[in-house]
């Protein structure tokens, strides 16, 4: 059963800030959803191959030929903060 500490841990993994009330509600909701999902644990599937993808295609390749791509201006156009030709982010190390 998922508890409050699990929710805190998973939220950290997902880089998701949850307000205290939100984390509490999330714990109750996830417990109920996971209880439903746990149903698949009933099946013995040791001999069943997994399906990652439904199409019978793999290793889709194309000739290694350069094609036009986004211009630097276009790539930067939606950035919340830009510095010269780069995305600008808050400091990475303290």
């Amino acid at each position: 059963m998922i508890d409050h500490d699990d929710v805190r841990h998973v939220a950290r993994l997902a880089r998701l800030r949850l307000a205290p009330a939100e984390a509490e509600r999330m714990t109750t909701e996830l417990a109920k959803i996971l209880d439903h999902i746990d149903k698949i644990g009933e099946l013995d599937l040791t001999t069943v191959e997994p399906t990652a993808h439904v199409l019978a295609i793999s290793d889709v390749l194309r000739p290694d030929r350069p094609l036009p791509c986004l211009s630097r201006d276009d790539a930067l156009r939606n950035a919340p903060a830009v510095s010269g030709d780069c995305f600008r982010v808050p400091r990475i190390q303290s």
């Binding site: 880089r15 998701l16 439904v54 939606n78 919340p80 808050p90």
Partner: protein, 509 residues
Amino acid sequence: MTAGLDPLRLTAREARRLLIDGELAASELTKTYLDQIERVEGRVHAFIQVTADNAAKYATEIDQEAGATRGALAGLPTAIKDNMVTEGVTTTCGSRILGNYQPVYTATAVRRIWGDHIVMLGKANMDEFAMGSSTENSAFGATHNPWDLSTVPGGSSGGSAAAVAAGEALWALGSDTGGSVRQPAALCGVVGMKPTYGAVSRYGLIAFASSLDQIGPLTRTVYDCALLLRRIAAHDPCDSTSVALPGEIELPSAERLDGLRFGIPTEYVARGIEPGVMARFERTVALIEELGGTCVEISLPHTDYALPAYYIIAPAEASANLARFDGVRYGFRAPGADDLTEMYEATRGEGFGAEVKRRVMIGTYALSSGYYQAYYGQAQRVRTLVRRDFDTAFAQVDLIVSPTSPTVAFGLGTRTADPLSMYLSDICTIPVNLAGLPAISIPCGLAGHLPVGFQLMGPAFSENRLLSAAHALEGAIGFSSVPTFCDSRDAARAPGGPYGEAGREAVER
């Protein structure tokens, strides 16, 4: 409104004929829809953004174009779900985190029909990142079902479905990950189709669950559905999971179902289907037999495991896909963070709504160390069993049929407090996404004053068989009701009963 044009009933087929024969100008046709948007959008809220000026201007340009150089769908007014990126037109995906996103390219499916000279009326409302079954999870407010404004249109393509039902668009594009085209089509009384996985390019479709997502049409008729699908279905080098269909999509004309075998999965109709929906379903099954088809009971024994498998696979893929929304390259960034991790967490915490956070949490949990095999690994094996169920069934029958949704449109706000109850809305639509199969929902009548959807599912790449059978059945059903824009909340307070005059009229029709 242009004399004689009823946007609640006009089909793309007829509109196209009028345009080609010179009986109607593209500008008049677009004006008909912009006028209807003006009239009802305040109550329906099918759009996140209406691009009225561009639409009117473009329609006028089409009128000046010589007939021979006009595209195959020239002048047909179209709504596009707001998770398909459109260069020059803000694309939000129903999320605060992309509230001001200006795409720098256009989704292949949209680019194809722009190349056919369709007129885009605007970007349709949707559940945030297509996660939901009611369009109540949009950061920009819920869409209301034009059949009863107190009910949801379904979701996540609820804006696309409501726009077509309300005569605010001739037709629309949506996307279907677990039923997000078919369920809203059912709840809004229109046609909605999910093609075979890979038939339509996902390039420029903002990813929710990449192994399940598929773009599909929402239209008034099955013929229109084929007309739109044949233009968007194509192999695209920009999507390595796209494949060419074995043959071109044909425009359907069948009126009979002779020789076709239809399977009714006992697991789908065993329980939980509302009596009103079940009655319409059974009536439609009887029509299949009247048209010369045969109906037999079949079993899809792992149906009960499809929903839990879906609610592991879809959130797991979503949690990976949504990692890109981090406040660095595009979208919203929370202000005031001191370091990068704090900025990520605050941006995502403030930028995502409650349902998106739930799915990201479920997905991250299912993929986390120590749980991966028990959840994601197990779910992928269940997926194999679901596929095998369909393979076995399609050795016995040509098509499988079921209700599209276990209920008619439910009341706004009635399921938002209980996420699991919302997830159960998709019980009849999810299995085909897991198996990558095509399926279509067509209106099969009313239960009370609300429409009921009938789903036909086929083997991979059986689009032509599906469209042909759906066309024959549509003709026999003869669904001709149109939405009344009633509000049973108002009517319940008024003398004259729960649905008021408008509702009674719909019931009697």
